[in-house]
């Protein structure tokens, strides 16, 4: 596959009061990648992907997606362009059924009820929740709720799926299942995930970006990053 740039940021900056959470970040993401962003707590990872998805407005810099400047685009328009986002803290419609949760997502790109229902079904199958379609989402286990969130992202048929710490709080079995799901997703979409679990990162990522105090500390293939002494100092050493 030819190397095509999917997303690019230039000098992206966001401050909270005196704190610069994201500091002049230049970042490039190729189509088809599974990119992991790692870094200590408070490094600015969530803020950074928030800037990409449009949930948070930047103080400076630009975001290009698919060759288009989307810096000023509101979040919902970015979703329509193909940027799907799952929250770090589980964020679903607890009082609705799993089917309805997925239908709301699918409806974002489809008009007919029959197509919407089929897309909801398909997304549920992709994460293994097809048996839970009639259940109330709030009654699902925590692991299943996280899967539902991923499925809602899938139902959007995104070009880019952003996952913020998706495996946090999952059991080992659930994590295995999750790895399968993401690999399958990656066949059709580019994946950008924030992840603390280094096993997951090493198993999935085609490249890693290390963020520290709002800046990119290092970037490259997983093996190189794992060997990088600066990274080990700043992050890996303290995390394990």
């Amino acid at each position: 596959m030819a190397e095509v740039t999917l997303l690019q940021t230039r000098g992206l900056t966001r401050r909270f009061g005196g704190l610069t959470a994201v500091d002049r970040v230049d970042f490039t993401l190729m189509q088809g990648e599974i990119r992991a962003i790692i870094g200590p707590n408070g490094a600015g990872k969530s803020t950074f992907v928030g800037l990409l998805s449009g949930r948070i407005a930047p103080d400076a810099g630009t975001v290009l997606f698919d060759g288009q400047d989307i810096t000023r685009l509101p979040a919902h328009r970015r979703v329509r362009l193909g940027i799907a986002y799952t929250f770090q803290i589980t964020n679903i419609y607890p009082a609705m059924t799993v089917r309805e949760n997925l239908a709301v997502a699918a409806q974002s790109r489809l008009a007919h009820e029959a197509e919407i229902a089929a897309a909801a079904q398909e997304a549920a199958i992709a994460v293994g929740l097809e048996d839970r379609l009639p259940d109330r989402a709030g009654a699902l286990s925590y692991g299943h709720q996280r899967l539902l969130e991923v499925a809602m992202g899938l139902a959007l048929h995104p070009k880019l799926l952003i996952l913020d710490e998706p495996t946090q709080g999952l059991s080992d079995d659930e994590i295995d299942n999750f790895l399968t799901v993401v690999r399958r997703v990656a066949q059709t979409a580019t994946v950008l995930l924030i992840e603390h679990n280094m096993d997951v990162v090493m198993a999935l990522a085609t490249a890693i970006t290390v963020l520290d105090r709002g800046r990119i500390l290092a970037e490259g293939p997983p093996e190189a990053i794992a060997r990088d002494p600066a990274v080990q100092d700043a992050y890996l050493g303290s995390a394990t």
């Binding site: 328009r77 964020n91 419609y93 089917r99 709301v104 008009a111």
Partner: protein, 317 residues
């Protein structure tokens, strides 16, 4: 995901309401006519409060916009009643769009106060311009505005049967339209915005626009009720624009069950019967309103149909 059981119930209720006029006569027909019109008001309110989760304290404003829009057009403009009716609806639509654009910049408590204040300004305006509106005393529509011709037929609004069937027709149109709106994809979006606006935004929806749509539909339907009320009973007065009207429509909706298609009808019926029982005792009625508001928020926030829906009949929504 159509809701066939609810559709069947809708048809059955409409058929029953049509049939009942051959069984009852006299005062009950009048009472039922009022119930149907006020139920339309509550159904409009329910679109915003029940389905979309935005509690307005100012819907009297939109009812009054329909009432005065239609009433003043008939009184001063001397236009045919169907045109006056349309004028009332248009007035409510425009007003609810404008108020919605402003009020929806706020949320929860602020939204409640903003809607209340706009409605209060509207009420005070009906008093201030009493030279035109008749203020407290109101205006009775002249004889030429008490009948109209439809398809060559002269229809007199002094006839209780004519009034009942017109009210029923409007009620049926609104009910079916709301069935289509709330039970299809659009209704799912309203619920999504009510349940979790941030998630909905991040699924690619302009939450502000969905709310504005709900607000405008809600205000316009309230205006339909107001216009109908004014023309049917030939009277427009500022008491309809009072805060109490806004509270009553909230109460009707709360009693029946917010976010259910038939909640407004049930709530309006129950409350109107209660008013009739307590008629003459204004204080007793208002105390009942007060006590009910407290009791419902404390123990019964889902209302009659909402409770039935949650316990036994999930399709009743």
């Amino acid at each position: 995901m159509r809701n066939l059981r609810l559709f069947a119930l809708t048809i059955a209720v409409l058929a029953g309401l049509f049939g009942v006029q051959f069984v009852i006569s006299g005062y009950p027909v009048l009472a039922l006519t009022r119930i149907l019109i006020l139920a339309v008001f509550a159904m409009g309110y329910n679109v915003l409060m029940g389905y979309t989760g935005l509690v307005s304290l100012g819907h009297a404003l939109f009812f009054a916009a329909g009432l005065y829009g239609a009433g003043l057009a008939a009184y001063y403009g001397g236009v045919a009643l169907p045109i006056a009716f349309a004028a009332g609806i248009a007035a409510a639509a425009v007003l609810s769009l404008v108020v919605g654009l402003l009020a929806l910049r706020t949320q929860t408590v602020s939204f409640m106060i903003v809607t209340l204040m706009f409605a209060q300004a509207g009420y005070l305006a009906t008093l201030h311009f009493s030279a035109i509106t008749g203020g407290d005393q109101g205006l009775s529509l002249p004889a030429h505005a008490r009948s109209f011709s439809l398809l060559g037929q002269e229809i007199a609004l002094t006839s209780a049967t004519a009034r009942y069937n017109i009210a029923l027709a409007v009620f049926a149109v609104v009910l079916l339209a709301l069935y289509a709106l709330t039970q299809g994809p659009r209704g799912r979006l309203f619920a999504a915005v009510r349940e979790n606006p941030e998630r909905t935004r991040m699924l690619g929806y302009d939450v502000g626009r969905i709310r504005l749509l709900a607000f405008t539909v809600s205000g316009t339907i309230s205006g339909v009720a107001g216009a109908l009320y004014g023309l049917m009973f030939g009277f427009i007065g500022s008491s309809f624009a009072e805060f109490r009207s806004s509270v009553e429509v909230l109460l009707f909706t709360l009693v029946g069950g917010p976010g259910t298609l038939f909640g407004p009808l049930v709530g309006t019926t129950v409350m109107t019967l209660l008013i009739d029982r307590l008629s003459g005792l204004t204080s007793a009625y208002l105390i009942a309103v007060g006590v009910l508001l407290i009791v419902l928020t404390l123990w019964f926030p889902k209302g009659i149909l909402g409770t039935i829906r949650d316990r036994w009949a999930p399709w009743l929504r």
